[in-house]
Symmetry: C2
Subunit: 351 residues, 2 copies
């Protein structure tokens, strides 16, 4: 069984990552938080239980519900339950549920206690650890939010058993990113050696995978919890490309698939800019192909203006210069602006 | 001129209190923040300037506009101006404008830079220092919000020249509260010795009054910035009574007037509970009467149930037991639950 661990975040706050061996252990743990709680599910995660607790909000699934109206539903349920600042907000589901519950928890009486139970791989390795909460606002993804770490993040690989394959592979995109960002090779080696068990969602291998992946993320968070020092930004490796692709494809490409493609583009640009050694690109693309990601996709030439517009709309780029995350060695990210022609040649289909 | 000073708040954040000698000095200071800013006024504060900056939101005045819809207006203006995390949100007005601007600033890209320019006495001494942002929600006053301190709080007594007398005296209620909470007697002595100049809003005396009052507040904030240690709660002296009175009178009583009345009730209860020496009650009531506050008001007997319902609705009381702030000595607050019969006899008109 993977060891539980605690991450130091901003303002003296901590998140504990707790690994649980099955739905029964999860239920038992959840009952320990007592009845002064509001529970948030989505249509999918609500199905994991035969009966739901008192004071429950079930939100409709989908990114289009990541709005203030959903936050209001959670706040209203908390108010109706007469919760106080020391009560619990428990978010149970994928990224949308976790981000919404975290935002509501951070705002209720200026901050109540938060527990997150991610039920998708993407959410387990990406969304729940690090304290980011958000809603989308006027077309800006995650434009409005807070930093509000969960006291406990409960990781239960058993939740992943019924996850559709496409969702699972989307989460794996972020796991591969963490392998690129880790100077120690344990996550890379596990990915190379245990692919079949990973894709079969073998419980023990999954626990090891989650444990290693979350430790990589934690190492960046602890050094820059509020993303002010240029360290945490490394977790955006591949994401400038991924966000632009998602945007021009109207979010029909799954996030982790776009990230996998973006990782490959970041390697290509890094080599072209003289930052990334070419053996790193080969090794990275090799891993991405090994897991079946489509890294050969390119954007049609006529869409370069759309690409630029999508990049300008990305909130991370509002201050003007875009800093791309590149690798100067395996596990050693740097932030660099890139020449527009260089980016163009990495993302646009050749004539 | 009063000395500028800096208050240490949660998460390594600080607020600088900057005293400015007139509208011209204020304008000059404001221009130093540059053009990457969104400005928030209300109908009243907008009139202090002949022309308003680009990217300005003018909100309608009044507590009924302390809602998410107003926060959305500010966020939309920031987005339209393509502001980034290192841009400025500048709130210019009374408590409603300052609380709304602070909330929007704390949420925009998970936190942008905030400047507050309070234009009422209540807002100068109470709302702007301490980092509380809020909106009202489903009848719950300030139920939803964040802790997000302003980088700079600009204090310009010249803004108070045109403030209506009732507004000014409402602010003075909080100033008197700070005198009760200060073990050193300088604020009390100033209030006793310079009443005429204070009521005439003499510039030099006002600066001294604001300086002393803000330092008292700062001393409580620095020891308990997020209100988790039972120290900052002392700033609620009189407020459990004040909130209930405001609520059952449908907010027709001004906040500071209700606070002044609540201070007197807290003294009466403190004496009855054997916590407050009777000479403290006499001194406190003497100061309150000296400034003309109606501390003899009582609630009609038939409204005791309304009073209890209003108290239960106060978000600070959701956890069950209500801890009242009492004085065991001048400037020495303690938190104590009070017997309901004792509270009743202090607030209800005798037969």
């Amino acid at each position: 069984m993977a060891q539980d661990f605690t991450v130091q975040l901003a303002a003296g706050r901590t998140s504990s990552v707790i690994f649980l061996d099955g739905i029964k252990a999860l239920s038992h743990r959840l009952s320990s938080y007592g009845s002064r709680a509001v529970w948030v599910f989505d249509d999918n995660s609500a199905r994991l239980f035969t009966s739901l607790p008192e004071h429950t909000v079930v939100l409709p699934s989908g990114e289009e519900h990541k709005t203030w109206a959903s936050v209001e539903k959670i706040l209203t349920a908390a108010l109706d339950a007469h919760l106080s600042r020391d009560s619990w907000f428990i978010g149970f589901g994928g990224g949308v549920v976790c981000d919404l519950t975290a935002l509501a928890s951070s705002l209720y009486m200026r901050g109540s206690r938060l527990i997150l139970v991610p039920t998708t791989l993407l959410c387990m390795v990406d969304a729940t650890l690090g304290g980011k909460s958000a809603i989308d606002f006027k077309g800006g993804k995650n434009l409005v939010g807070t930093f509000w770490p969960a006291r406990d993040v409960l990781i239960t690989p058993a939740c992943l058993r019924t996850l559709p394959d496409a969702e699972y592979m989307s989460g794996m995109g972020e796991v591969l990113k963490h392998a690129f960002l880790s100077a120690d090779h344990r996550l890379y080696d596990l990915l190379m050696e245990k692919k079949d068990a990973i894709l079969a969602r073998d419980r023990d291998v999954l626990l090891e995978l989650l444990d290693l992946s979350l430790h990589v993320k934690a190492s960046y968070l602890e050094r820059d919890p509020e993303e002010t020092k240029g360290i945490r930004q490394a977790l955006n490796l591949g994401h400038t490309f991924a966000h632009a692709l998602e945007s021009i494809e109207n979010f029909t490409v799954k996030h982790g698939m776009a990230v996998a493609w973006g990782l490959s583009r970041a390697m290509e640009c890094g080599v072209a800019a003289g930052v990334t050694p070419s053996w790193i690109q080969e090794k990275a693309d090799g891993l991405l192909r090994f897991y079946g990601y489509d890294i050969d996709r390119r954007i049609e030439r006529g869409r370069w203006l759309d690409w630029q517009a999508a990049t300008a709309k990305d909130k991370k780029n509002f201050s003007g210069t875009i800093n791309f995350v590149l690798l100067e060695d395996w596990g050693r990210p740097v932030l660099r602006p890139l020449d527009s022609a260089l980016v163009r040649s990495a993302v646009i289909r050749k004539a």
